[in-house]
Amino acid sequence: MATVTNPSAASTGSLTAKALREATFTAVMTFLMFALFIGLKTDQNMRNELILVPRWGMLAILVVIAFVGRFAMVAWLQPWRTASKAAKSAAPTVDEDAGFVKRNFSKLAILALVLYPPIILWIFGVQGSLKYIDNFGIQILIYVMLAWGLNIVVGLAGLLDLGYVAFYAVGAYSYALLSINFGFSFWILLPLAGILSAFWGIILGFPVLRLKGDYLAIVTLAFGEIIRLVLINWQDVTKGTFGISGIPKITLFGIPFDASPNGFAKMFHLAPSSAYYKVFLFYLILLLCLLTAFVTIRLRRLPIGRAWEALREDEIACRSLGINTVTTKLTAFAIGAMFGGFAGSFFAARQGFVSPESFVFLESAVILSMVVLGGMGSLTGIAIAAIAMVGGTELLREMDFLKHVFGPDFTPELYRMLIFGLAMVFMMLVRPRGFVGTREPTAFLFERKAVSGAFTKEGHG
C-alpha cells in the first residue's frame, strides 16, 4: 500500500511554522519599533545632566507579548474564526435536534419556578428565605414581565419605545391612589390599572405612531419624562417626590397577611412571618408572568400578532395587503402598555410605597436592553437576559469579599452600569441577535423550522 500522508497533520505543521515565522517577524518589528521608545529612557541625574536609562526588561516583556500574541492569533484564533464562520454559513436555517431538555424547556422552567419557594424555605428556613424569594425571585419576575410586555412593542411590532416605564408608572400610581382613596382591592385594581395603562398607550399612540425610527424613539422618551415630571409636580395628588406610602397589601381572597387573628399565619397555625406574604407575592407575579407569556404566544398565532411581525419586516408591504397599520400599531402599543400596567400595580402593592424615583429613564433603558440582549421576540431569551441583568445586580450587592480586595469604600453595585455596558458590547459582538437569535414560525405546513436571525428585521418605526 502506498504511504498515506495525513493532510490535516501536514496543514497543522505548516500552520505552526507559519505562526512561528509571523510571530518572529512581529517580535523583531516590535523590538525595532520600541527599542528607542521603551528600551531607552531619557532622564535627569542628580546634577541635572541628561542621561539614558536602559529598560531592557520592559522591552523584553513587550517583545514577548507581541510574539505570543501573534502566534496565538495565527495558530489558534484565525483557524477557529474561519471554522466557526464556515459552520455558520453552512447552516443558515437552524435545525433543532430535539434533546429532552430542549424540547420541554418551558415546562421544566415553570416546574423549577413553582418548586423554587418551598426549596428555598427548606434550605434557608423561614427568615433566611426572604432575601432569595424577594430580591432574587420577585424582583427578577417583575422585570421578566415588563420585558415581555415591551417585547410586544419592540420585539414583535418593531416600534422602538424608550418610554415604556411611563406605563409601569401609570399602573403603579393607579393602584396606589385608587386603593388608598377608594379602598378598592388589588383584584379589582389589577385589571383597572392595566386598562388605564392601555388607555394611556392609545393616547400616546395616536399622535406618535405616524413617526418612525429615531423620531418615534425620541417622542416616546419624552412621554416617559413627561409622566415622571407630572408625578413630581402634581403634588396635591401624587405628593411629589415624597411619594405615596402606606399602600394596602394584597389579600388572598380576603385573608390578610398580618398578625391579626384571622390573618394567614394564624389560620394555618404558622409562626407569624413576612416570608409567607413574600411567597404569596412570588406565586402571584409568577402567575402574571405566565399570563403574559400565554397571551403573547397566543397573539403571535392570531392575525394581529402576525400583522405585528409583518409590520416589523415591511410596513409598506403590510399596507399593500390591506392591513390598517395605524390600528395594528395602536393595539401593539396598548397591549404592551397593559402588561406594563399590571406589573406596575403589582410593584406598588409589593413595595407599599411608590415615588417618581422608581420610574426614571434608566428603568426604560434596562428593560429595553433585556429585550435586545435576549433576542427580539424570543420569550426564553428575554427571560434569560432579565435573570442575568437583575440577578447580576443583586449578586454584585452580595459580593462583600471584594471589599477586602479593593478597600472598605468599595461598593460593587456602583459598577453595575460599567459591567452592563461591557457585557452588552461583548454580547453584541458575539451574538448580535441576542441570546436567542432565531425566530419560531407561527405556523407550518410540513415541519417547524426555526428562522435564522439573518433574515428577520428589527423594524424601523
Binding site: P303, A307, S320, G322
Partner: protein
C-alpha cells in the same frame, strides 16, 4: 360612502381619467387617461422614468394624485373612486392588489406566514377581532385551517410548495417574485397590478411567470395590469398595451398596433420628435 361611485361601463374594471401627478416642478404624469378591461391582461410600458410606477402608486393609494379620477368597478356592481381612499382600503375594499418593483416580502417570515398575513382581514373577522381567537374559539380554528389551504393552493400554483416552511428571504430572486404575486393573490383581488414582474428573471423563470400570469387570469378570473420592460413578455401575454413617455400617453391599443406605432419606436430608440415622421416612413416601407 363618498368613495362609492355609480356603476358605469361594465366592460372596464379600472378607469383612469385625466390623471396628473406633480412632484415639485416635475410633472411625473400629465393628463393620462386609459382603461383596463375586465378579464384582460393590460400592459403599461415606457422608457425609464416615464412615470409607470407613479401611475401604480396613484392607483393603489400610495400617492394622492394632483388631479384626475381613478375608478374601480367591481364584478358585483360596486364602484370606488380610488384616489379618495387610503392605501390599505384600496386593497381591502376595492380589491386591487399590487406588487413592488423592488420586491417587498416579509423576509423573516416563512412563505406560509407571508401568505397568511395577506389574508389578515378575513382572519381578523374570523378571530372576532382577536377576542374570540384569544379565547380559543373554534370559528377561528376553522378559518385558520381554510386560510392555510388557500396558502397551500397558491404555493402549489407558484411552484413554491417545497419551500413552504423556509424564510422568504432565503428564496432565490425569481422565486421571490412569484411569492410576491402569490401573496398579492391571497388578498382575493379582482385587479392585480404587477410592477415589472419579469425584471431580473432568466428566460426559463420568465416562461414560468408567463404561465402563472395566464393561469391567474384563466382560473381565478382576475384582471391584470402590468408594467414591463421586456417587449417579448409584453407581446406574448398582453391583450392591450398602453405606452407612456414623460408622463404622457403616446400609444394605446393591441400589441401589434403598438409595436408598429412610430411614436413608440421613436420613444424606445430615443429619436427626437421631428424625426418621428422619418421613422414612420421607414416603418411603413418595412411593412410593405
Amino acid at each position: 360612502m363618498s368613495a362609492v361611485a355609480k356603476p358605469m361601463n361594465n366592460d372596464a374594471i379600472l378607469k383612469v381619467e385625466h390623471l396628473s401627478m406633480r412632484f415639485g416642478g416635475l410633472m411625473a404624469i400629465n393628463d393620462l387617461s386609459f382603461e383596463v378591461r375586465r378579464g384582460e391582461i393590460t400592459a403599461l410600458i415606457g422608457p425609464n422614468g416615464a412615470g409607470k410606477t407613479t401611475v401604480f402608486n396613484c392607483i393603489t393609494g400610495f400617492y394622492k394624485p394632483t388631479m384626475g379620477m381613478i375608478s374601480m368597478h367591481q364584478e358585483g356592481g360596486k364602484s370606488f373612486y380610488l384616489e379618495r381612499m387610503a392605501d390599505f382600503e384600496v386593497t381591502r375594499d376595492a380589491k386591487v392588489a399590487r406588487t413592488f418593483q423592488n420586491i417587498r416580502l416579509f423576509s423573516g417570515l416563512t412563505l406560509l406566514e407571508n401568505l397568511l398575513v395577506a389574508q389578515h382581514n378575513a382572519l381578523m373577522k374570523a378571530s372576532g377581532y382577536t377576542v374570540l381567537g384569544l379565547l380559543g374559539f373554534k370559528s377561528y380554528k376553522d378559518a385558520s385551517k381554510e386560510a392555510t389551504e388557500k396558502a397551500r393552493y397558491w404555493l402549489e400554483k407558484a411552484s413554491l410548495i417545497d419551500r413552504a416552511d423556509d424564510p422568504a428571504g432565503d428564496l432565490p430572486y425569481g422565486a421571490q417574485r412569484r411569492l410576491e404575486i402569490a401573496r398579492a393573490m391571497c388578498t382575493g383581488p379582482e385587479l392585480l397590478c404587477l410592477d415589472e414582474p419579469a425584471a431580473g428573471l432568466n428566460p426559463r423563470e420568465s416562461q414560468e411567470l408567463n404561465k402563472l400570469l395566464r393561469s391567474i387570469r384563466a382560473d381565478n378570473g382576475t384582471s391584470l395590469l402590468l408594467i414591463e420592460h421586456d417587449m417579448s413578455v409584453v407581446m406574448e401575454i398582453s391583450d392591450h398595451v398602453v405606452v407612456l413617455e414623460y408622463g404622457q400617453k403616446i400609444s394605446d391599443g393591441d400589441p401589434a398596433h403598438v409595436k408598429n406605432d412610430p411614436r413608440v419606436i421613436a420613444a424606445y430608440l430615443g429619436v427626437d420628435d421631428d424625426e418621428v415622421e422619418t421613422v414612420r416612413h421607414e416603418v411603413e416601407e418595412g411593412a410593405n
